[in-house]
């Protein structure tokens, strides 16, 4: 079996999930310059809500992708409502506050959501019911499962949709204007508050899908699952250049591939001294390296420092 190709495929699948989450970080950061610490938790809520739905449907004998889609139909609105609520309660009152205040309230929201989820779903790992087809396809010495194919397609469709939304619609233009200069956008008749709320809604919707997909992929969910995923996705967003949509997508895919290649080859290269348990180290080292060489990320605009 071709290990290289296999790791690239796995990496792309994992990376497309990172990318979906990273988009949420980067869109919010682009407009209000806030690291939305609670975003990973929104992904977790998406995963657990869809899991609850899927479990109930599976218990009644339904199976296949329709169940996942029904789960999504509930998880997406739930996460959108959650995202809007977070923005309203924890971020909007702090928009003029010193820079670290919203960061702390974001951390507060993140802890609160984790604990709420633990109260609702319990603290144990929840396993997804076995409802998805296990078909595998061989390509050039590697295998790709149906779940992986679906994740890749779903992520690609969503990212294309987002690209069109931001670049080709009136709403997207308002978003870009607000990101560039909220004050002037406001003068041009853009309701900046509404645009910020919409941005949170779109990001949370994507997070819900990412959550459901990540649950279906790894077959397991837990109230702490959002933390590392969120951290990685944020890393991906920074890697690509925070604030840039293309950067988030590229950063996500790149991070996924790097991590999986690292996990696959580290043991071999170092004769077993450094094994796959260091794959996270590899990801973060890569990030440090990229930032040191290109401080604004891969696709980030060179910021002109305003005096």
């Amino acid at each position: 079996m071709d290990i290289f190709l296999q790791q690239v495929i796995n990496g792309l699948v994992q990376g497309s999930i990172y990318a979906l989450v990273a988009l949420g970080y980067t869109m919010v950061y682009g407009i209000i310059e806030l690291v939305n610490f609670a975003h990973g938790e929104v992904v977790m809520v998406g995963a657990l809500v869809s899991l609850s739905v899927i479990e109930r449907l599976a218990a009644r004998g339904y199976s296949g992708w329709t169940v996942i889609v029904i789960g999504l139909l509930l998880a997406v609105p739930a996460c959108i409502a959650l995202g809007l609520g977070i923005e309203r309660v924890a971020y909007r009152p702090l928009r003029k506050a010193p820079r670290l205040a919203p960061l702390i309230s974001a951390i507060g929201v993140s802890i609160a959501l984790q604990q709420l989820a633990a109260l609702i779903w319990g603290r144990n790992y929840l396993h997804y019911p076995d409802i998805l087809p296990k078909t595998q396809y061989a390509i050039g010495g590697a295998v790709i499962s149906e779940v992986q194919v679906v994740i890749l397609i779903a992520a690609a469709v969503l990212m294309a949709g987002l690209w069109i939304l931001v670049q080709r619609t009136r709403l997207g233009r308002a978003m870009r204007a607000s990101a560039q200069n909220p004050a002037v956008a406001g003068l041009m008749g853009v309701d900046v508050n509404r645009i910020i709320a919409t941005t949170f809604a779109v990001g949370s919707g994507l997070a819900a899908v990412a959550g459901a997909l990540v649950g279906a992929y790894y077959n397991v969910g837990n109230h702490t699952m959002g933390f590392l995923l969120g951290l990685k996705a944020f890393t991906a967003a920074v890697l690509g250049g925070i604030g840039s949509l293309g950067g988030a997508m590229l950063g996500g895919l790149l991070l996924g591939v790097i991590e999986n290649l690292g996990a696959g080859y580290m043991g071999k290269l170092t004769d077993g001294a450094v094994g796959s348990n260091y794959s996270d180290v590899f990801a973060f080292l890569m990030l440090v390296l990229v930032l040191v060489l290109r401080p604004s990320g891969l696709l980030g605009e060179r910021g002109i420092e305003k005096v």
Binding site: A97, P98, L100, A183, L287, V307
Partner: protein
């Protein structure tokens, strides 16, 4: 009158605190006080980085870990070396400072949020190494660490003084109070020194500071190393106090918690930081009786008490930030600055002016005439 007796009252109060706590709340609360003081030292260390120099560090716990593991490895049966404290305390401090400089050197050119994520990654890297290396005994950690001892005086053992037997947690309390005071004094002196004022200049406007001839890169590096040193010292004390270290004590959550202490208290203001640290260290514990309340009210525990108290903690964190974004006890200067800024933003036209959404930054300051000129 106030100024004459206050210091005396404070000293007596601090000296009496563990005894009163022990009698009123039980011995486990004295232990909690010890931990709160450890957190206070950490928060004061991070305050140098975040509060004074304005650098956002999300991986501060890494330096705490470096200090703790340096003590754990050199004073335990794990490798079989038992070095005394007067060697280990400087070792831990220097090692942490070296790590601080190592991390800072390539990354301090980065802008605020990028620096935050890099430090966060660094913290995770350290933890992953601690988890996986055999020299640190992996996820199991190192135990049977020697207690802190100066000369023949072991802090973990009970000692009898004037007929009273004081268990280890009391000894540590007084040791930690002493060291916290020392760090407080050092921070205070640092704040007003040439270096401290240079940090403030960098924090307020880096470009202007550079233009005034400050070597911003070295100064930032110094702040990082200084903060790391205090982190390392706290780590050494933690290892000796706890007698056991494992990678799980140094997760990112700890870094986040320490940052919360600094910001919630009022960054750059020593009393505020101290208040924030003590408050946040004790708050989760203070919510513990809620579980019993639930039990007695409903005859049954519906909501997991551990989750419930962390939930309340998080809600308190959000509420404080919304109500007092400048922190609970900010420095008078900072408070004034914030309120002046607010005043600048709101020279609203007196009447007949539909201002639209007033929470758009900078929106309200622009008059309709300007807008008309553009449109």
């Amino acid at each position: 009158m106030k100024s004459r007796y206050l210091p005396l009252l404070l000293v007596v109060g601090i000296a009496a605190l563990p005894f009163v706590t022990d009698i009123a709340l039980g011995r486990s609360w004295v232990r909690l006080l010890d931990f709160a003081l450890l957190y206070a030292m950490l928060a004061l260390g991070l305050n140098i980085v975040v509060g004074y120099a304005g650098l956002l560090d999300l991986g501060y716990v890494a330096f705490y870990a470096v200090g703790a593991y340096s003590y754990a490895m050199l004073a335990s049966p794990h490798i079989g070396i038992h070095l005394p404290l007067y060697v280990l305390l400087p070792t831990g401090a220097l090692l942490a400072a070296a790590f601080g400089a190592l991390l800072g050197a390539p990354t301090l050119g980065l802008r605020g949020d990028y620096l935050a994520i890099v430090t966060m990654g660094f913290g995770e890297i350290i933890r992953i190494f601690l988890r996986n290396l055999s020299i640190t005994n992996g996820p199991a950690g190192i135990d049977l660490i020697d207690p802190i001892a100066i000369g023949g005086f072991s802090f973990s053992a009970s000692h009898t003084l004037f007929g009273f037997t004081l268990p280890g947690i009391y000894n540590y309390y007084f040791l930690f109070v002493g060291l916290t005071t020392l760090i407080l004094l050092m921070s205070k002196r640092l704040e007003g020194s040439r270096i401290g004022r240079a940090w403030a200049a960098i924090r307020e406007d880096e470009i202007a500071a550079k233009a005034m001839g400050l070597n911003t890169k070295n100064l930032k590096l110094l702040a990082f190393a200084m903060g790391a040193t205090f982190g390392g010292i706290s780590g050494v004390l933690f290892a000796g106090f706890q007698g056991f270290v494992s990678p799980e004590s140094f997760t990112m959550n700890e870094s986040v918690m320490i940052l919360c202490m600094v910001v919630l208290g009022g960054m750059g203001h020593l009393r505020g930081v101290l208040l924030g640290a003590l408050l946040l260290a004790i708050l989760p514990e203070a919510f513990r009786p809620l579980a019993q309340l639930q039990q007695s009210a409903f005859d049954q525990v519906y909501l997991d008490p551990a989750n419930l108290r962390m939930l309340l903690f998080a809600v308190a964190l959000i509420a404080v930030m919304i109500l007092r974004p400048e922190g609970l006890w900010p420095s008078p200067v900072r408070k004034r600055e914030l309120h002046d800024k607010e005043g600048d933003d709101r020279p609203l036209p007196p009447s007949g002016q539909p201002t639209g959404s007033d929470s758009v930054p900078g929106h309200t300051g622009v008059s309709a005439a300007d807008a008309g000129g553009v449109a």
